[in-house]
Amino acid sequence: MNYRKLIFILLIINAFCLSKTVAQKDEIKINFAGSNVPFIEFLKEIEKNRTIKFYFNPFWIDSIKLSVNYKNTPLIQVLNEVLIPYNLHYYIDDQGNVILTKEKSIQSTLTEEYITANAERNSTEDNTDISEKYKYNENQEVDEVISIGTKNNKGNSIATIIGYIKDVDNGEPLTGATIFIEELKTGTIADADGYYMLSIKTGTYHIIYRTFGMKTIKKEIVVNSDGQLNINLSKELVSLTEVVVRQDKYNNIRGMQIGLEKLTMKEIKELPLAVGESDILKASLMLPGIQTVGESAAGYNVRGGSADQNLFIINSVPVFNTSHMFGFFSTFNPEVIKDFKLFKSNIPVEYGGRISSVFDIQTKQGNKKNFTMKGGISPVTAKLSFEGPLIKDKSSFILGIRSTYSDWILKQIQNPAIKNSNVYFNDIIANINYEINDNNQLTLFGYYSKDNYKLASDINYNYYNYGSSLNWKHIFTKRFYSNITAVLSDYHLEVTNNTLVESAYKFKHNVKYYEINEAFNYLPNTKHEIKFGFSSIFHKIDPGSYQPINEESVYKNKTFETESAMESAVYIGDMFEINQKFSAEGGLRYTFFNYLGPKTVYSYLENSIKSTSTITDTTYYENFESIKKYSGLDIRLSFRYLINNLNSLKIGYSRINQYLFLLSNTVSISPTDRWKLCDPYTKPIVGDQYNVGYYRNFNNTNLEASAEIYYKENKNVPDFKNGADLVKNENIERDILSGFGRNYGIELMIKKNNGKLSGWANYSYSRSEMKFKGKSMEETINNGEFYPANYDKPHNVNIVTNLRLNRRLSFSTNFTYSTGRPATYPVSKYELNGNTIIDFSNRNAERIPDYWRVDASINLEGNLERKKVAHSFWMLSVYNLTGRKNAYSVYFEQEKGKVKGYKLAIYGVPIFTISYNFKLGNYASN
């Protein structure tokens, strides 16, 4: 307890320290005398021998001449005297950067973002020619006035500006770039295709395009009527220090979203990880509210939800099994991923079907200008990716391949059991896009991941996911565009048991998913942003089949009936900016689930336990005949109140229906668990979530902080009878229990995005409780009272830091702590027919020991020469630095009548790994 408190106090102290350094900058004293000295010369003089630097637009000050005699005059006084008559303002940040601004109005959010953007650059900048040049070449180049639309438009009407924002070097869309109208203090964010849409009154404005790591562009525009403005942003010179992917700079304060987590690929890549493999899903565990049952366990628990309540989509393709190598890795190759968003609450209305969260992963589109290649090798995997244009500036591709060579390692180990093992996995991601014209764009995406392993036995596990999506983006008018997407996803699982010829069998399971969805975005005026659309999914699940694989085998060929269903949804949502302070977002999603034949359905005696003896009727349903229909109305509601530019308050409510779940009765989900649709006996899971969030950015620093509170209620949560066979079960409805779950918690997060030292720290208190009160004893768990779910780990602390020593060398550490997960411990023992039996009572009444871990890594970039063949990146990481033997599970065994407890630790020692990555071209080339 005290330990946790201490960490929190440390965080707060840290925050104070930062603000103190800012204060010290005020102490600079000026000694200067001269007459008719250009102000610009004066500033250069001040910069000499000091860490201080000035940033300004030379146009503003070229007329200023000084005739002064300063002796030990504070800098602040000097600046006030000189600048105020010219209506200039200044801002000093903690790096010693002084930024001059012209208009007072810039003291808005814009100022704050603007300053942040400057600080980002300067913090990583050294005293080189580059920065000198850049300094006077400030980011606003109002070199030309752009006229949009036709001039004969009368009056003060509304015009819509659309366009694409892309990287000038490779044509890659700049997802999440912000577009800001200075005069109106309004703006928007570019979507995954770099596309934006903005409605404003006609007139003359300054428009600013900005995204992390790219030069900000400011243009003066005259808006006459609707029109298009495509912008190519070039990399900032100092973006040399940044890696690969730009941050989607989501504004915490202004954005509508509650419970949104984003990690940049840069953050992910610098986290020290267990086996030297960057992993977006494992990295997300350092965020508040995301947990697993145990170290390296497959399955993620978001805000107390079970693992099957998360939707994992990569370019719209759902992935049904996200684990490689029993959960040690995720199946998403980080090399080709551009952007990763995690919605923990208020999931946008265009998504549906899972009640806890959406992990939305976007791949890169591919370089539209040049061919490039990247690769890497870690102790377990090797990977390569290629990208380049197919038709220059019009069409590009990206291909990422990753494979393990652990099989080869196993073969080197001189142990017969291990030699008899194999572990193999690979994944391939490919994406092609084609811009037919300004109004039409096609994207074709393919995904494949495969695992095959056999460990010291003759049981072979083989599973693979493949999926594909085809997206057509069409712009109807300047205010209206649509995305039509066709999606296919297929998951196969196959277990072959060859241990004994006489009982050899093969088990197969297959999930098929076909989806068509159409999403429309419409901007009727400046206040509303409307989205609507529909989706239709056809699910086909083959629960499995058991087959003997030779003539000797005793097994019979057992095939289960497949189940199919249509899951359709229509939705509409509106983001409404009520006034400068208030915004509201609402959405309705009507979902309709139709469970279809062919299938045999049993009816059971009412109010009795379902079993062979209580069957009253058997009905056979024909192909596509409707067996059972469910429908539900999903709701999304959220309000944002902007207290001021640095503080906002948001509240939200959402309801989601879920029609698909995982048959799993293990504590952590196993890679061989099967999927199941809702059926006449298993009702859809309905999740309600209420949440409140407070967001604060600290003015003079890069710190952003948030506090979110949530309460969730989940109805019809499935669990299974004790001892139920979930694999060879034809009538699973007899073993499914239906329960109620409630989750609540508070998440506190503080994050520093930029600077020499960056990182975040969070604390969350979260509870997840279940209640199963059935008609009979065997349908009831813990006497029908609330009990903690397997993943109920109340206290959590994560601290991630990244210290950038210079452009080439950085040092990262992680600290993570959580309460031990609940476990069922024995209450007594007894003798039974010569065997000592351990007796258990209430489920999850005790807890395994607390978990904590420290990791560290050193990241070394290759040299920074501009012209070279390839650039390299080394990472040396230590996972579990202290070698703590964290318990994965605690279990009990009897030996000769004595009961002994054991704990299983997955990584009981520090794990050292070294990984190497390279890319063709220099550091900055993507």
Partner: protein, 377 residues
């Protein structure tokens, strides 16, 4: 079941591969339920059949206490009842002449000394097919905890149940092995006189195989079981030093009984993997009549029985003996050994006295029996 068993093996492998490991960890266990435990099975073989009544004990505690002085009766569905007699603490026996009849149903009624009544459900005695064969294979295995290589015999069972409808089985095994003391002695010193005495050199030892082995034929083409693994006997013990017998009893279970044993298997043998199931309290077919919410552990079963024995000899080749090392001391004079009494001595050719530990010369010293068991071949 097979699937989960292999997960366990994996963990052993991870220990080596990823240097993860299993550590002893005994958390404090504050909760304790004091419950009655009933176990008994009646068969169609000649009695006496035994019913055991015990109480649960604390997890880290000693052996469970018997429930003594209870009134135990078995009643069949025709209304006949017999009273069981307590011989030894908590062990209740049917009369010798009691034989279960296939097709009849039986229940047990218990009144314990504090007056509480307990009763089982009626259990039907079902027929069981003959054991077709018990076979062995000499195999090398990996110890899932230590990773050490083991050698030994794996036993398998074949059952041809195609004629019947029986789908659920349980097997009990009893092992008997012959041992022989490695040394002869010439004299036994009782502290007073040197007595010329011989000790039984050839003995047999019995043990119950404490492993729950069950199977069902639900997914099989017929009710025929082929090569189902029973126990594994390693050369690490003395069991295989001369000759070894496995006696297999086969029982037919009801579905409920099968699920009961399956639960016990899941709780005891399938923990400590990456994918553990939640352990749970396994409840059988016995209820407290006075207080239906009181939990009673254990089960009462009725089954026909069929048995088979199989013998194996010491495997060929250079295998470890499995004997504990025999302590020997060599002395040159009788007077020197007086401080070690009583002792077992042999005179060596070089006229010195070699003293052996008792465990190396007297096979009855560790509880073995010097008489040949019935049906020993």
């Amino acid at each position: 079941m097979q699937v989960i068993k292999t997960w366990i093996k994996w963990v052993g492998l991870f220990c080596i591969f990823l240097q993860s490991c299993i550590y002893e960890y005994n958390p404090e266990l504050s909760k304790y339920n004091d419950l009655l435990v009933v176990y008994g099975m009646i068969t169609n073989a000649k009695g006496p059949h035994e019913i055991n009544l015990t109480r649960t004990t604390t997890v880290y505690g000693n052996k469970s206490q018997p429930e003594t002085n209870a009134n135990v009766t078995i009643t069949d569905d025709k209304g006949n009842s017999i009273k069981l007699i307590e011989k030894g603490k908590g062990n209740y026996f049917t009369p010798d002449n009691f034989v279960g009849i296939i097709g009849d149903s039986y229940k047990i009624s218990i009144t314990i000394s504090n007056g509480k009544h307990y009763e089982s459900d009626f259990v039907k005695m079902v027929d069981v097919p003959q054991i077709k064969d018990v076979t062995t294979e000499y195999q090398t295995k990996m110890d899932s905890k230590t990773g050490a290589e083991l050698k030994g015999y794996q036993f398998y069972i074949d059952v041809d149940g195609s004629a019947g409808a029986q789908k659920y089985y349980r097997w009990e095994m009893e092992e008997t092995w012959e041992i022989s003391m490695p040394y002869n002695i010439n004299f036994y010193w009782n502290g007073d006189t040197l007595v010329e005495k011989t000790f039984p050199k050839r003995c047999w030892r019995h043990a119950k195989v404490n492993e729950i082995i069950i199977a069902n034929t639900l997914d099989y083409q017929s009710n025929t079981i082929k090569k189902l693994p029973l126990n594994y006997t390693t050369t690490e013990t003395e069991r295989l030093s001369i000759k070894y017998r496995l006696w297999v009893n086969q029982y037919a279970l009801s579905e409920k009984s099968y699920l009961y044993w399956k639960g016990q298997v899941e709780n005891s043998q399938q923990q400590g993997s990456l994918y553990d199931k939640q352990p749970y309290q396994v409840i059988g077919n016995i209820k407290c009549i006075d207080n239906p919410s009181e939990i009673v552990l254990g089960i009462f079963e009725a089954s026909a029985i069929s048995s088979k024995q199989v013998f194996i000899k010491r495997p060929q080749g250079n295998i470890p003996y499995g004997f504990e090392t025999c302590e020997s001391f060599q002395y040159s004079a009788l007077s020197d050994i007086e401080k070690r009494m009583p002792y077992y001595a042999s005179f060596s050719l070089l006229d010195s006295i070699i003293v052996r530990s008792k465990n190396c010369v007297d096979c009855t010293a560790t509880g073995s029996i010097p008489t040949m068991p019935d049906n020993w071949e």
